[in-house]
């Protein structure tokens, strides 16, 4: 006999999973759907499958971290407290989706659980510290790797990943044999197939990485409470995510809110690959990773690297000999200062310069803002669990 409270817990977990499905399909398959490589339904199906694979294989390590290691005594996860924690995670997702301020679900989850543990005096500071250090280090790794790619390899990559879709469908089903097999249509060329396979494959990689880090956000409190075994919890969580990918994800795939689709395809691919790899690595060592922040730092790194590459835009286009532009262009470029002329044949008036786009102070502000929702969740959770006496602590 399942208690009412456990049922509520499972329902809230399903709600969280449903929102995760909706929120993560966009970044993962937005570029592929946008390029008409696959349909939304196919995106939902691939998302569900690869999310499950990620959750089942590596995701359980993060569930262990959140549900067992982060607290000295998993007893703090009473059913009431678990529902409370899931509630905070759900609110964070909701805020992110409604106001377009992306909030890291993983950071919010860790924050709410830490708030709970702190209120009960059971927080394992060693584990918390390890997680926090990786939260600081991993975005910098992503930033640096992307910066190097943006500065030295982007142009070459971009030439290779030129993705032109021809008219008509990519595949047709050949029914002449006993088993219907997909075959390339006449309008499809091989290069195009390569591009399509690549965006879809990277979508799958993202889905997998999302599974490794996000399953814990939906089910860790319930697993920690001991009311739900690991395997059934992962299956329930993945089913909820699956429902999200087929329902609300259709809308999130369409809205312009998905920042990754604003990037050129090559940039989206680079960002996705670097950040998904980092997230999988962190999940493998049991650290709940923040995809939003890692991806943001990757995007900034890529753009900044490209903006400060050692030649002017015009020259790069014409393939002329490179003329070095100060690498410190960004730091020199303070408010109100006249910009130095770039190319000589240009008009003498002020020329827009790519490094204008990357102001360190504003960048810091954006990154800081992404930490606001998790911070509020942490404080809110602490205050709630400390002073509202209904959680059986």
């Amino acid at each position: 006999m399942i208690s009412t409270l456990l049922l509520i817990g499972i329902l809230v977990a399903i709600f969280v999973g449903y929102n995760i499905g909706g929120a993560t399909t966009g970044p993962a398959f937005g570029p592929a759907v946008g390029a008409d490589a696959i349909s939304k339904t196919a995106a939902g199906a691939l998302m569900t499958v690869f999310f499950f694979v990620g959750a089942w294989t590596i995701g359980r390590r993060v569930v262990d971290t959140l549900g067992r290691d982060l607290v000295h005594d998993p007893g703090v996860f009473t059913l009431e407290a678990s529902v409370g924690v899931l509630f905070f995670i759900g609110v964070a997702l909701f805020v992110g989706n409604v106001f377009g301020v992306p909030a890291s679900t993983s950071m919010t989850a860790v924050g709410s659980i830490a708030g709970l543990a702190l209120a009960a005096g059971e927080l394992n500071w060693a584990v918390m510290g390890e997680i926090a250090i990786w939260w600081i280090v991993s975005p910098f790794i992503g930033f640096w790797v992307s910066l190097v790619i943006g500065r030295y390899f982007y142009a070459a990559l971009n030439r290779r990943i030129a993705m032109e879709r021809s008219e008509g469908p990519l595949f047709e089903i050949d029914r002449s044999g006993i088993v219907p097999t997909p075959a390339l249509t006449d309008t499809t060329n091989l290069r195009e197939v390569g591009g399509v396979v690549m965006v879809v494959a990277i979508g799958c990689l993202m889905a997998y990485s999302s599974g490794t880090s996000n399953i814990a956000n939906a089910v860790a409190p319930l697993v920690g409470s001991g009311e739900l075994e690991m395997n059934p919890a992962i299956i329930i969580g993945c089913l909820a995510v699956g429902i999200g990918t087929f329902t609300i994800a259709r809308r999130t795939l369409e809205t312009m809110g998905n920042e990754l689709t604003e990037l050129p395809l090559t940039a989206a691919i680079v960002t996705a690959t670097v950040s998904a790899t980092l997230v999988i690595f962190l999940s493998a060592i049991g650290i709940p990773a923040s995809f939003v922040i890692i991806a943001t730092m990757c995007i900034i790194g890529l753009g900044w690297g490209r903006a400060t590459r050692p030649m002017t835009v015009g020259e790069a286009v014409r393939g002329e000999e490179s003329a070095p532009v100060s690498v410190g262009a960004l730091s020199e470029d303070r408010e109100g200062e006249e910009l130095p002329p770039i190319g000589e044949e240009e008009e003498p008036e002020r020329i827009p310069k790519a490094s204008d786009l990357f102001d360190p102070a504003t960048t810091a502000r954006v990154v800081l803002m992404q930490n606001v929702v998790p911070a509020i969740a942490t404080i809110g959770a602490y205050a709630t669990f400390r002073f509202v006496p209904i959680f059986g602590l």
Binding site: F99, G100, V101, P102, G150, Y154, N158, E259, L260, E262, L263, P264, T266, A267, V292, A295, T296, I299, I300, L302, G303, W304, R306, A307, V313, G314, A316, V317, E335, G336, I351, P352, K353, A354, D356, L357, F358, D359, T362, T363, R365, V366, M369, Q370
Partner: protein, 141 residues
Amino acid sequence: MVDDVLVPMDGSEMSERALEYALEVFPEADITVLHVVGEPSSMWAGATGLALADDLEEAANEHAAEVFERAREIATDADADVDLDTEVELGHPVRAIVGSAADHETVVIGSHGGSIADRVFVGNVAEKVFRRSPVPVVVVR
């Protein structure tokens, strides 16, 4: 007599109202519409997309074209006998607007722009322009 006015437009309704106001109050003036592209956003994708473009200027102009189109429509609707000048700048709106304000006599700006997310990442542009601008600022409400 003011005869050189800068109207920063972000495409929001408020910025359109600022242009209408400028056309009405300074009918004799030259009006320059300024649009800032690649402004900070939640994951910085817009700015990076521009930075990665082969021809930055062309990409920036493309982004701005729609806003300028709308601005010309408003000028036509107002039966204004002016040729709107246009200007595209990159990066942080406040910095860009304050930077070009010095070349004009007055700035006419809408009191606020787009969404809550913009407000979070950029802050209130009109308020900051008002504080830092080297020339008088008219804030349209």
